[in-house]
């Protein structure tokens, strides 16, 4: 609220001081005008060529005397302003020099610098370890929801775009959830742990809203279904062991699951024990390398982590954080909902129409996916971008144009969603959403920046191991 707003209100014909108050909000807020009102009345009076007494005074309600922000804030400051959520391996990460980042209310280890390393150097080392030997990552913050009941499979069929009938017990599938407007809302690996029991994972940030959406549908739309949902996010500590040596690291610690051979193939799940503790073992990969995600009851998280760490020393095990996790997944073209999607993106836009259960009668968002605008050929589609020269790392959020002109009008045809220096390729890589992107492979586009337009080559969004052979070990 500035004096310009008051002058504008005056020019627009607001005469009554009470109307001006409601229109501009002057005299509202915590001091009820005790500090601002005389100035505001002076401006109004000048505008109306009257005296302040002629303009009048606004009425005010409690508090009648100025109140400090501290009184209103109370305990809501510092660590008590918002919960700071930490995982079971937090103390270990602190002791090993982790630099943390906030993800929702969670503190997540972003990278683990060794003395003298900056983030770039640490991420380079961490990513190489995952690609060449073995990395250790805390994925506990992923949302987890146990969906149980005779209608569990029907419930997931109605909710997620994928077909779930064909998912066998002991197998997992990458699930995508839309809103009813057809846009991507969340994603995650879903495991069928029994005929009538699914272990659903969600994004870290989406855990609460996906749970609320499920409960909403159960209580209002699908009261016919015999299925119940329970949040198990905090029941489990999730330890990802990723990389070609991950099996060697775990083989001496795991009981009851045969890690060698084909008994636990990529995208499967098994029950067993690790260091004597019951675990749910996922053979899944968000890094593109063969790997596992070990779920153990949360109180055992740090101890199991430490034992894997000790066993992994002989195999070059390296703790990695969310920054390396992001780089590794971007090299594979795996999207992050909320980063590569923004609430206006359909499954097809991000190359995921293969996941849609084609024979399903319905699922949330299905009807919206066939509206004309959703089928338009010039929708923004996910592509890979290689900057020239390769040492350039594009700015995330930067616009993309089809010409190098630097003065307006320059119409954007897309934007950069993810961008990193890729340790595996030794150059900058990026993902972006570009109009009709999949029809532009091989084209050169431009990312206009203050220093000039950066040329980028449009490529398929999988930079590393495009055949996906490495996840099979």
């Amino acid at each position: 609220m500035t004096t310009r707003d008051l002058a504008l209100a005056s020019r627009e014909g607001f005469v009554s001081v009470e109307h001006v108050k409601r229109y501009t909000t002057t005299g509202m807020a915590t001091d009820q005008g005790k500090t601002s009102n005389l100035n505001a009345l002076g401006v109004l009076a000048a505008g109306a060529a009257k005296t302040i007494p002629e303009i009048g005074l606004t009425t005010f309600r409690m508090p009648y005397t100025p109140v400090t922000f501290g009184t209103l804030a109370g305990h809501s400051r510092g660590d008590l302003f918002d919960p700071v959520r930490t995982t079971s391996t937090h103390a270990w990460a602190v002791a090993h020099g982790a630099v943390f980042e906030d993800v929702g209310m969670w503190k997540r280890a972003r990278y683990f610098p060794k003395p003298g390393e900056d983030m770039h150097a640490a991420v380079l080392r961490e990513c190489r370890a995952v690609r060449e030997s073995c990395g250790l990552f805390d994925a506990s913050t992923l949302g987890k929801i146990e969906v149980v009941g005779p209608d569990a499979v029907e419930f997931l069929n109605r909710l997620y775009i994928n077909a779930w009938n064909s998912l066998a017990v002991g197998r997992t599938r990458y699930g995508i959830l839309l809103r009813d407007d057809g846009y991507v809302y969340d994603d995650g690996v879903i495991a069928r742990v029994a005929n009538d029991r699914f272990h659903v994972t969600t994004t870290t940030g989406g855990a609460a809203r996906v749970f609320a959406m499920m409960e909403d549908y159960l209580q209002t739309e699908w009261t016919d279904l015999k299925v119940w949902i329970t949040s198990t996010t905090e029941q489990w500590a999730v330890i990802a062991v990723q990389g070609p040596r991950s099996r060697d690291v775990l083989s001496g610690l795991v009981d009851g699951v045969e890690l060698a051979g084909k008994s636990i193939p990529h995208m499967s799940v098994a029950r067993g024990r690790i260091c004597g503790i019951p675990m749910l073992l996922f053979r899944v990969s968000f890094s593109g390398e063969m790997g596992y995600e070990i779920n153990v009851p949360a109180d055992y998280g740090q101890s199991v982590w430490e034992k894997i760490w000790a066993a992994g020393q002989a195999h070059g095990i390296t703790a990695y954080g969310t920054e390396s996790m992001h780089v590794l997944r971007a090299e594979k073209g795996y999207i992050i909902v909320g980063q590569d999607t923004d609430g206006t993106v359909t499954p097809d836009d991000v190359g995921l129409s293969w996941a849609i259960g084609k024979n399903k009668e319905d699922f949330v968002g299905k009807r919206s996916l066939v509206r004309p605008a959703m089928l338009a050929k010039d929708r923004r589609q996910l592509v890979g971008l290689l900057s020239e020269p390769g040492s350039t790392v594009l700015e995330e959020g930067a616009q993309i144009t089809d010409n190098s002109r630097h003065s307006p009008p320059v119409r954007p045809i897309g934007h950069v969603t993810s961008s990193y220096m890729s340790p595996t390729l030794g150059r900058g890589i990026a993902l972006g959403l570009v109009k009709g992107g999949r029809g532009r492979l091989g084209q050169t586009l431009y990312v206009p920046m203050p220093g000039g337009a950066i040329p980028v080559k449009v490529v398929a969004p999988v930079f590393h191991d495009p055949d996906g052979a490495r996840v099979h070990g």
Binding site: T230, V304, K307
Partner: protein, 181 residues
């Protein structure tokens, strides 16, 4: 085989008005009245059909959290046999039994200031006339979801998701220190 992993829950220093209770076995049981009735024999506690009431039998308790939901609490060592017994008893009935033993931490808040400490950030009326011994419900403590259960005239059991333990304890601490508790 390597030595077994050690259990380690969130650490909270004991105060005069607060302590962390022993780890417990916890199960969320969902289903109709037939499920709740059938669980009674296997669990050894007849669950309440009245809203927001806990039934205690020895070391075990069943907490009414919803028309189709009970939280079953037992000593930690009983988790495995309990799961087996309950699944056997409920096999023919549509239901959901999910173990959540490690999901939450139990705090006991007690003493003459207990109602004031809770009221500071819980919107419910926790006076004994509105919230008697044996009453239990999900609610919030400021920005954290909690489960509140009055276990004695001067004591509540507060169950909080493990990552929110520090937040709830520190916030209660801030209130308690103003009270001189």
């Amino acid at each position: 085989m390597a030595e077994s992993a050690q259990r380690r829950g969130p650490v909270v220093a004991e105060r005069q008005w607060l302590r962390v209770l022993e780890p417990a076995a916890r199960f969320t049981l969902r289903g109709g009245p037939d499920v709740m009735a059938a669980s009674a024999t296997a669990f050894g506690v007849s669950p309440s059909s009245a809203a927001c009431r806990a039934v205690v039998q020895g070391q075990r308790a069943a907490l009414w959290l919803g028309p189709d939901e009970q939280l079953l609490i037992a000593p930690a060592s009983e988790a495995d046999p309990l799961r087996t017994a309950l699944e056997q008893a409920l096999a023919s009935l549509p239901h959901s039994l999910v173990e959540v033993s490690h999901r939450q931490v139990a705090l006991e808040v007690r003493g003459s200031y207990v109602e004031t400490i809770l009221s500071a950030y819980c919107p419910l009326d926790v006076d004994a006339r509105a919230f008697p011994v044996g009453m239990c419900t999900r609610t919030v403590y400021s920005k954290a979801d909690i489960l509140l259960w009055r276990t004695a005239p001067g004591a509540f059991r507060v169950e909080v998701w493990r990552s929110l333990t520090d937040y709830v304890v520190n916030l209660m601490d801030a209130v308690a220190s103003e009270l001189g508790a």
